[in-house]
């Protein structure tokens, strides 16, 4: 074998290994979930559905990159739904097949992916990606093809300000996320109410819209905002920002975060600086269950940390409890490990299925018209009713708090399932 030939073989082998590994890692690959045969339910409806032509539903998810953790949770949510719908006889009697491709958390790749899913793969329906950041550009290209774009994680105003009629978010509009927390702080007795609060938020379409209304509520209650700054989404070192917050000694801290590392960095710096706010809420990160606890050094550091959301594993909804049980059975862990991404994705499937069944059609124009009709639909996150923009006006806003290693619903105070807020938050590690 010549030297150049040997070199070519080595290069080819390396390329092959890289391709296999990239596939195993879920980056840039496509996967499917036509799981009627793998489901435990195997009734006649299932076998009948399996024999028919599958309905292919495309989705671009962040299986690698910054949103990989959320993207893979979304993939699990979509697949759980596909398993369930197939076990129940499929969609209009046809098995559902998912066509999932990875966008690597890239706003440009997500556009390419939806173009491919619709124009090249000819998928009959599409589901949304993870995050407002990716939903905004992809919604435009999906609209161009006249497809309904039902999604579960693009709830920021930026997703609804483009005059599109095809976008529907099944989750809580993010602008309302912090309202229960702000109202709760504002209505505390004056002697317990924080005198000062600090706000730091990532420059992200998901986080920033949550703060103006919340800050206004706090200020109206006489709470002084002593720090209010935005930091770039691509920050690699949060130490100076977190240290600056700690130096204010604000009694309440509101963090606009999109992921675990941001919250983790702030918590580690606060521990190091011996800064213990009486109330601490982060817009995302603490909802990531075991991944959050692992990153911050255990449940003792999570005690009292709050997060707003529209769903939690103990959500008192029969379909939700069934989904959580199925998740644990399929992927292992405990109910606390099931984060809200799974429920958001599962809800997308539920809403689309109800629209398809109601219209007896895969015609996206009919589905869009139906979803805009004012009908109230069901999901594992509760009722879904779209307004003219496509936001879910029926979604309820909650706040959750880590209490003794369990994420508990605490707000709105007095609501079904709400436990008392642990206030003031205990010192870190206690």
């Amino acid at each position: 074998m010549t030297r150049s030939r040997r070199r070519a073989l080595i290069v080819a082998a390396v390329a092959a290994v890289a391709a296999v590994l990239a596939g195993c890692g879920g980056s840039g690959s496509s996967s499917s979930a036509s799981s009627a045969s793998s489901s435990s339910a195997s009734g006649s409806a299932t076998s009948s559905a399996a024999s028919k032509t599958p309905i292919t539903i495309g989705a671009s998810l962040s299986l690698s990159g910054d949103f990989a953790s959320d993207g893979q949770a979304f993939e699990k949510g979509y697949q759980l739904w596909a398993n369930d719908i197939n076990a129940a006889g499929g969609l209009m009697g046809h098995p559902v097949k998912l066509d999932i491709v990875s966008d690597a958390s890239s706003p440009s790749q997500v556009v390419t992916n939806y173009t491919k899913l619709i124009s090249s793969d000819h998928d009959q329906l599409v589901f949304g990606p993870f995050s407002t950041l990716l939903t905004v550009p992809s919604s435009k290209v999906v609209n161009r093809y006249g497809y309904a774009f039902v999604e579960g994680a693009g709830g920021a105003p930026a997703a609804f300000g483009n005059g599109l009629k095809n976008i529907f978010d099944v989750s809580l509009p993010v602008i309302d996320n912090l309202i229960p927390f702000a109202h709760w702080l504002a209505t505390l007795p004056a002697s317990e109410r924080p005198a000062t609060a600090a706000v730091a938020t990532s420059d992200d379409p998901f986080t920033q819209p949550q703060f103006p209304a919340a800050v206004k509520i706090l200020q109206n209650a006489g709470i002084k905002i002593v720090y209010n700054k935005v930091f770039p989404a691509e920050v690699t070192d949060y130490t100076p920002i977190a240290t600056a917050v700690a130096s204010t000694k604000a009694q309440a801290f509101l963090l606009g975060s999109v992921d675990v590392p941001t919250v983790s960095a702030f918590i580690h710096t606060f521990i190091q600086q011996h800064y213990n706010p009486k109330a601490f809420i982060a817009t995302a990160g603490p909802d990531q269950g075991a991944a959050f606890l692992k990153a911050i050094g255990g449940a003792s550091n999570a005690e009292g940390v709050m997060v707003p959301n529209g769903w939690f594993p103990g959500y008192p909804n029969a379909a939700s409890q069934k989904m959580v049980s199925e998740y644990v059975a399929k992927y292992g862990g405990t109910p606390s490990d099931v984060n809200a991404d799974v429920a958001e994705a599962y809800s997308v499937g539920q809403v689309v299925a109800q629209a398809v069944n109601a219209t007896h059609s895969l015609d996206n124009a009919k589905i869009i018209a139906y979803l805009h009709s004012g009908v109230t639909l069901n999901s594992v996150q509760g009722p879904v009713k779209f307004d003219s923009l496509g936001e879910n006006g029926a979604a309820a806003a909650f706040a959750f708090q880590w209490q003794k290693a369990v994420l508990e619903q605490v707000l709105p105070a007095g609501a079904t399932g709400s436990k008392p807020v642990e206030y003031p938050k205990p010192n870190w590690g206690s």
Binding site: A18, A68, G429
Partner: protein, 294 residues
């Protein structure tokens, strides 16, 4: 903003800068020796963090003690990477092609880590990760202090090897003129392999400190690479001591801007300062020609 906050930002910048220098040292060494831009540096840092994670969580080995295992392991890995990927690049296309080849290395590392560890964030934990040294009213995290001292020590060792040993003379000789070095008996391939091994082994230490100060996933390396490249470019590609100075300068400047002005402007000022310096000093603070002539 008061003087205390400013002083704290400067201290944080110096300590964090040391950590970045530790992560960038291998990058600049490999470029200095081989004219190779190692895009896989970020992935190697993450790999180092995961190795420390395995030793710490599964074997109960202290993070710093674990370096006695990870540094030699990374040396072997570095020698392998040089043999398998870098040696095969032709001299005239080495720098440009190295970007593609090392990017492939990064993808392989990310893929392997994703298969083994999944994509959930983890962070290295130890008693000194969250505990602090209280001096003059400032809380200095031990992990940053130890990381800074480790950076000084390892960069000092690298400097000694390169500029005070027979091997170092061989390295620099093969840089200045490969043919001449071979004529006087220097085994250039061996020198290069060992140099990359050393560069990658230092990265194991950088990875440990990175993992103890940040949450990470297999893909976290991509967030680092632009920052590390900017540091070694400012220092002058190939300058190890310069990397320490450049890292401290850049990170301190960024931290001060974040505290005094706004975090939004910190990143802009960081890169603007790079442009300004390169406008007047195109080879960076300690350009490559000067480095090789030392």
């Amino acid at each position: 903003m008061n003087a205390s906050s400013l002083a704290k930002a400067v201290i944080d910048g110096i300590l964090t800068g040391g950590v970045y220098a530790l992560m960038a040292a291998g990058l600049t060494l490999i470029f200095g020796v081989m004219d190779i831009i190692n895009i896989a540096q970020g992935a190697l840092i993450v790999l180092g963090a995961y190795m420390s994670y395995v030793l710490s969580v599964h074997l109960g080995i202290d993070l710093f003690a674990g370096l006695l295992i990870t540094i030699p392991a990374f040396f072997v890995l570095g020698v392998f990477i040089e043999w398998a990927f870098m040696r095969r690049l032709r001299d005239q296309e080495r720098t440009a092609m190295s970007i593609l080849v090392t990017y492939a290395v990064a993808i392989i590392i990310e893929g392997v880590l994703s298969v083994i560890f999944g994509v959930d964030y983890v962070q290295l934990q130890a008693s000194y990760v969250n505990s602090t040294l209280h001096i003059l009213g400032f809380y200095l995290p031990y992990i940053y202090v130890f990381g800074f001292l480790l950076a000084i020590a390892l960069i000092g060792v690298l400097y000694y090897i390169l500029y005070r040993t027979h091997f170092g003379r061989g390295v620099r000789g093969s840089l200045q003129n490969r043919s001449a070095a071979e004529l006087i008996g220097v085994n250039v391939n061996r020198v290069r392999a060992v140099s990359v091994g050393i560069g990658v082994s230092v990265t194991a230490a950088g990875g440990m400190v990175f993992g103890a100060t940040n949450s990470f996933t297999p893909s976290s390396g991509y967030d680092l690479i632009s920052r590390l490249l900017s540091i070694v470019v400012l220092a002058g590609l190939g300058s190890i001591g310069g990397a320490l100075i450049a890292a401290i300068f850049m990170v301190t400047l960024e931290d001060v801007v974040a505290v005094v002005w706004s975090p939004v402007w910190a990143t802009l000022v960081y890169y603007a300062s790079l442009i300004v310096v390169l406008s007047f000093m195109p080879n960076g603070l300690f350009g490559k020609a000067a480095v090789r002539a030392q």
